[in-house]
Symmetry: C2
Subunit: 327 residues, 2 copies
C-alpha cells in the first residue's frame, strides 16, 4: 500500500528540515509517495496567497502531511491546514532531551489540545468604533471527540494512566464548564482517571513541579499557551514535534518557527521535524519504525554530530545522515 | 484627613494575614479608619451569599479595600469586588524575594493586566444542547485607559522606561488587534517605547530568559495566566501582592489563596498581604511609608523570623511584630 504524503516545507528553515525528514522516511522500507506543495510568505509574495488552493486540496486528500514552518503568514497557513485535515486534536509532547540545557529537565508532558474551536472560531466583529467582540465557541461534540481520543490514548499506552483537565471554568462557566463536564463524563464512563486544574494555577504549578502532571487535556488557546510554557521549561521550541490528528488524515509539524536568522545556511537542527515524522510513522501504523527513528534522533542528540544550536558545528545534512546511519 | 479602609479578610488564611497587614498599617502615623466586612465561603454558608450587598457597597465607597482571600467562591467574590472599585487595571509585580527558592531568581516583572473585559465579560450562552458561546469583549476605551495608566506608570518611574504589549492578535485579529493597536498608539503619542510579543511566545521566552522583559501590558486572561506563570518562576504565589486600581478607589490583595491546610494555625506567612498594604500606601500617596514597609518585609524575609513555608518556625504574629519592629 502506497501512502500519499503531502510535503509542505513553507519558509525559512522549513525548507531545510522538511527535506531532511523526507530523507529519513525514504531510507525506511515503506512505500511512500511524496508530493510537494507551497505555502507561506514566499508563495504569498509571488501569488498573493499564503495558502494556495492546490496546497489546501493536497493536504485535504493526502494520507498525511508534513509541514515545515511559515513566517509572518503562519496563522494564514496553519489554521486552514489544520482544517484541511479535519484535525480535532493537536498532540504536543514536551519533554527535555539529552544535551539540551533545560530550566526543568524533569519535564515530561503531553498536551492534547482541542484543535477546532474556542477563541479560534474566527467569529469576530467590530460592533462600534469602540467595541469589538469575538465569539468563543465550545461544543459538547468537539469536547467529546477530544475526550474519546484522550481516553483511547491513555488506554493504549503503557506509560500513561490518567489525564489532567485544564480549564478556566470558574470564569468561563458555561463554555469551559461544558468542556470540563463533557471531558470528565466521557472519562468516567470509560473508567479513565482524571483530575482537573485551573489554567492559571497550572501555569504556576508546572513551573514549581512539572512532574505532578503527565497528560494534559485542554481547550485550544490554553493548549497553545501552556504547551509553549512547557517548551520554555524544556529549553525552547527547538526539539518539539507536534501532530494535528483528524479522523482520516493528519498533519505533522515541528513547534519551532522559520528561524530567519539561520535560514539557508544548512545549520538548522532537523531533530524536531524528524521526530514529527516519527509521530507520522506511528500514526500510519509503523510503530517499530517510529521507535527506531526516535531512538536514532535521541542517540544523535546525545552523541552527535550536533548542529550549532546545541554547541556543535555539524550541518543539517550531517545530522540527517547520522540519524539515517543509526537506523 | 481620615482614610476609610474596607477590610475584607475572607476565608482561610485571609483571616490571619489581613489583620496582620492592618496591624502594620496601624503602627504608622497615618489616620486610617478600618471597617470590616465579610465575604467568601463562610458567609455564603451562613447567608447564601458569597458577597453580601453591604460588603460590595463598602468597597464601592471606601477609599481603598484590603482583601484577604476566598475559597471555592473566589470568583463570586473577587470579580464583583473589582467592579465595586471600578478597577480597570490589575497591577501584579512578580519578583523573586530573598530566601525563596526560585526556578528563575532573576525574574523581576510587573504585569499591568486589563481588569474589566476580555473573556471576563460574563456574556455566555448555551445556544443548543451542543453549542455554548462566550462573547469576548475588547473596547478601544478600556485599552486606552489601560495604556494611559501604563504610560504614566513608566513615565513616573525611575526603574522602568518601556513596556511590552502581549496579545494574540495573529488569531484574535479584530479584538486583540484593537487592543494592540490602541495601546501602541497611546504609547507612541506619549513617547513611551514599546515592543510586542504573542502570548504563547511570551510563555516560552519568559522561562528561557525572564530578564528580557520588564513591564508587561496585556488583556485580562493573558494577565491572569502569564502573571501566574511568572509566580511559578519566582517560587510560587506565596509572596506576591497585587493591586486593583480604579479611578477613585482601589483594592489590594495577595495573589495567594486561602491555604486551607494551614488555616487557623497562626503559621501563615503575612508577607504578601503586608506588601499589598504597602502598595495601598503608595496608592494613597504615602510613598515613604510604602518604601519603609517594603524594606521591613524584605529585611524580615532575609533575616527572619520566618514562617514554616520558608523553613522557619515563627508564627504569623511573630513575623508581623518583626516587620513592625523594623519600621
Ligand atoms: C501560528 C499560530 C496561529 C499557531 C496557534 O496559535 O495555534 C501557533 O502558535 C501554534 O501553536 O501552532
Ligand atoms: C479567582 C479568579 C476569578 C481570579 C481571576 O481569574 O482573575 C484569580 O485567578 C486571580 O487572578 O485573581
Amino acid at each position: 500500500m502506497t501512502h500519499e504524503i503531502a510535503v509542505i516545507p513553507g519558509d525559512g528553515i522549513g525548507k531545510e528540515v522538511t527535506p531532511a525528514a523526507v530523507e529519513v522516511l525514504e531510507s525506511l522500507d515503506i512505500d511512500f509517495e511524496f508530493i510537494e506543495a507551497e505555502a507561506g510568505d514566499a508563495v504569498k509574495e509571488e501569488t498573493g496567497e499564503a495558502l494556495p488552493q492546490e496546497t489546501y486540496d493536497l493536504a485535504a486528500s493526502a494520507d498525511a502531511t508534513l509541514f515545515g514552518a511559515a513566517g509572518e503568514t503562519a496563522a494564514d497557513v496553519i489554521l486552514p491546514l489544520r482544517e484541511a485535515v479535519d484535525s480535532f486534536v493537536n498532540v504536543r509532547p514536551a519533554k527535555a532531551y539529552p544535551g539540551i540545557d533545560a530550566v526543568r529537565p524533569e519535564t515530561d508532558l503531553l498536551f492534547l489540545r482541542e484543535n477546532t474551536e474556542g477563541v479560534y472560531s474566527g467569529h469576530e466583529d467590530r460592533l462600534t468604533d469602540d467595541v469589538s467582540t469575538l465569539t468563543r465557541v465550545v461544543t459538547e461534540s468537539a469536547s467529546e471527540r477530544l475526550a474519546e481520543f484522550a481516553c483511547d490514548f491513555v488506554a493504549d499506552s503503557d506509560k500513561h494512566d490518567s489525564f489532567t483537565i485544564v480549564h478556566k471554568a470558574n470564569v468561563m462557566r458555561e463554555t469551559d464548564g461544558l468542556f470540563r463536564d463533557t471531558v470528565k463524563s466521557v472519562a468516567d464512563e470509560q473508567g479513565i482517571e482524571t483530575d482537573e486544574v485551573l489554567m492559571d494555577a497550572f501555569a504556576t504549578r508546572v513551573c514549581l513541579d512539572p512532574e505532578q502532571f503527565d497528560v494534559v487535556v485542554c481547550p485550544n488557546l490554553a493548549g497553545d499557551v501552556l504547551s509553549d510554557l512547557a517548551a520554555g521549561l524544556v529549553g525552547g521550541l527547538g526539539l518539539l514535534p507536534s501532530a494535528n490528528i483528524g479522523p482520516e488524515r493528519a498533519l505533522f509539524e515541528p513547534v519551532h518557527g522559520t528561524a530567519p536568522d539561520i535560514a539557508g545556511e544548512n545549520v538548522a537542527n532537523p531533530a524536531a521535524k524528524i521526530i514529527s515524522a516519527a509521530m507520522m510513522l506511528e500514526y500510519l501504523g509503523y510503530e517499530e519504525e517510529s521507535e527506531a527513528v526516535n531512538a536514532a534522533v535521541e542517540a544523535t542528540l546525545a552523541d552527535g554530530p550536533r548542529t550549532p544550536d546545541l554547541g556543535g558545528d555539524a550541518s543539517t545534512e550531517d545530522v540527517t545522515a547520522a540519524v539515517i546511519d543509526r537506523l
